[in-house]
Symmetry: C2
Subunit: 217 residues, 2 copies
C-alpha cells in the first residue's frame, strides 16, 4: 500500500519504519521537501521510503498518518491540501498538547471538542480515525514492550475505515483494539495523552500503557 506520513518527529519515524518493514511504500512529508530529518529517515529505510512536502506525501498516499504535533496539525493539513486528503483514511495520532513540565491541552482543541473532531469538521470528505495516540511511539509499533495485557483505543465516525485501521493495528501487534464509537470519543483519548507525562516522570520509562479491567454487574 502507498502510505503518507505527515511529520518527521519520533512518531512519524517509528510508524514509517514499521510500515516499511511490513512491505509498504511510505512517503514522509514535512513543510519543505528535503527536510534534514526526513532525508535521514529515507536513508535509513531503503528504496520503498521517500520524502517530500506535506502535499507530496498526502497526494502519494492511499492512507495518511497524521504524526505532526497536534497544536499545528490543522496548519500541516492545510498545507497538504483538501484535494489530497479527500476520500482517504487519515489516521490521526496527534495530540493537541501544549508542551511544558505539566502538559495541558490547547483549549480550542479540547474538552468540548478534540483535534480529531476539528480535523473531521474541516475535511468532511476525509475518513478520520483516531488511534495510537495514548502511548509512546515505540509501544505503538511494538506493544510487547509493555508486559501483560494493555489496551489501545480507536474511534471514528464510520465502520469501514475503522476496520481497515484495525487491520493495520493488528499488523503492529494489537490484538483487540477498544472501539469507543464515533470520533467525539477522541476527546477522552487526547485527555489521556496528557496523563502520559506524569506517569513517565514517575516510572522513568516510556514503556507503559493503560489497560481497562472490566468486571460483571
Amino acid at each position: 500500500m502507498k502510505i503518507g506520513i505527515l511529520g518527521t518527529g519520533m512518531v512519524g519515524n517509528a510508524i514509517g519504519a514499521k510500515l516499511i518493514q511490513l512491505g509498504h511504500q511510505v512517503k514522509m512529508g514535512s513543510r519543505t521537501a528535503g527536510n534534514e530529518k526526513a532525508v535521514e529517515w529515507v536513508e535509513q529505510n531503503g528504496s520503498t521510503a521517500s520524502q517530500g512536502t506535506f502535499r507530496d506525501a498526502a497526494s502519494f498516499a492511499e492512507i495518511i498518518f497524521n504524526c505532526t504535533a497536534g497544536a499545528v496539525s490543522l496548519e500541516a493539513l492545510e498545507m497538504a491540501g483538501a484535494e489530497n486528503l479527500s476520500g482517504k483514511i487519515l489516521v490521526d495520532i496527534a495530540n493537541p498538547l501544549v508542551r511544558g513540565t505539566f502538559p495541558s491541552l490547547v483549549p480550542s482543541l479540547s474538552n468540548t471538542t478534540s483535534l480529531g473532531e476539528e480535523i473531521q469538521k474541516r475535511y468532511p470528505e476525509t475518513k478520520v480515525v483516531k488511534t495510537l495516540n495514548t502511548m509512546m511511539c515505540n509501544v505503538m509499533v511494538d506493544p510487547s514492550l509493555v508486559p501483560g495485557e494493555h489496551d489501545i483505543f480507536i474511534c471514528g465516525n464510520d465502520n469501514e475505515p475503522k476496520l481497515k485501521v484495525r487491520e493495520i493495528l493488528n499488523w503492529f501487534g494489537w490484538k483487540a483494539p477498544i472501539d469507543l464509537g464515533d470520533l467525539s470519543n477522541a476527546r477522552y483519548t487526547e485527555m489521556l495523552s496528557a496523563f502520559w507525562m506524569p506517569l513517565f516522570n514517575l516510572y522513568g520509562t516510556p514503556n507503559f500503557n493503560f489497560k481497562v479491567s472490566v468486571g460483571k454487574g
Copy 2:
C-alpha cells in the same frame, strides 16, 4: 475516627457506609440539616451515623471527604467554613464534570488547573489529598468488583496526609495506590474521570477500572 462526608449522593453514601462498617463515626453534611437523603442514610447506617449541614459535618470531623458534585464543590466548602477545614485532611473525590451525554470538564477548574488545586489554593491550611475520583463509588470501597489488578491514583502536596489517606485506601481494599506526586497531578485524574462515561456506555457496567502496565527500558 470522626469523619465528615460532604454530599448526599451515591459517592457520599458509599464512602460513608463503608467508614461506618469500619467502625468510625460519620456525619453526612448537606446544604441544610435534615436533608431527606442524609436522614435516610443515617437510618440505614445505625447509631454512629449522623447528619447535619456542611458546616456541622466539617466541624465534627477529623478527616473530611468531599463527595459533592465537583462543579459546586467550592460553594459547598464555603458553606462548611474555612475555620472548620483548617488543619484537617480533605480527601477530594469530586470531579468538575459538566454533565451531559459527552462529559466535559468545567473550563475554570480544568486543563491548566484542577478542582483539587483550586480547593488547596482557597484553603491553604487544609491538607487536600486527591484520590478515589477515577472509578465508580461501589468500586471505590470494594476494588474486588473489578477482576485482576487495577489501579488507584493519589496525589497531594504533603507526604504525611497522603500516608494517612493511603491507610484509609488500604482499609477499602487498595493495596498499592500510585502516588503521582503533588496536587497538580489532580488535573490528569480529573481528566480521566471524563473517560468514565464512554467506557460505561461501551461496557454496560460501572465495574471497570484502569490499570497502568509498566515495562522496562
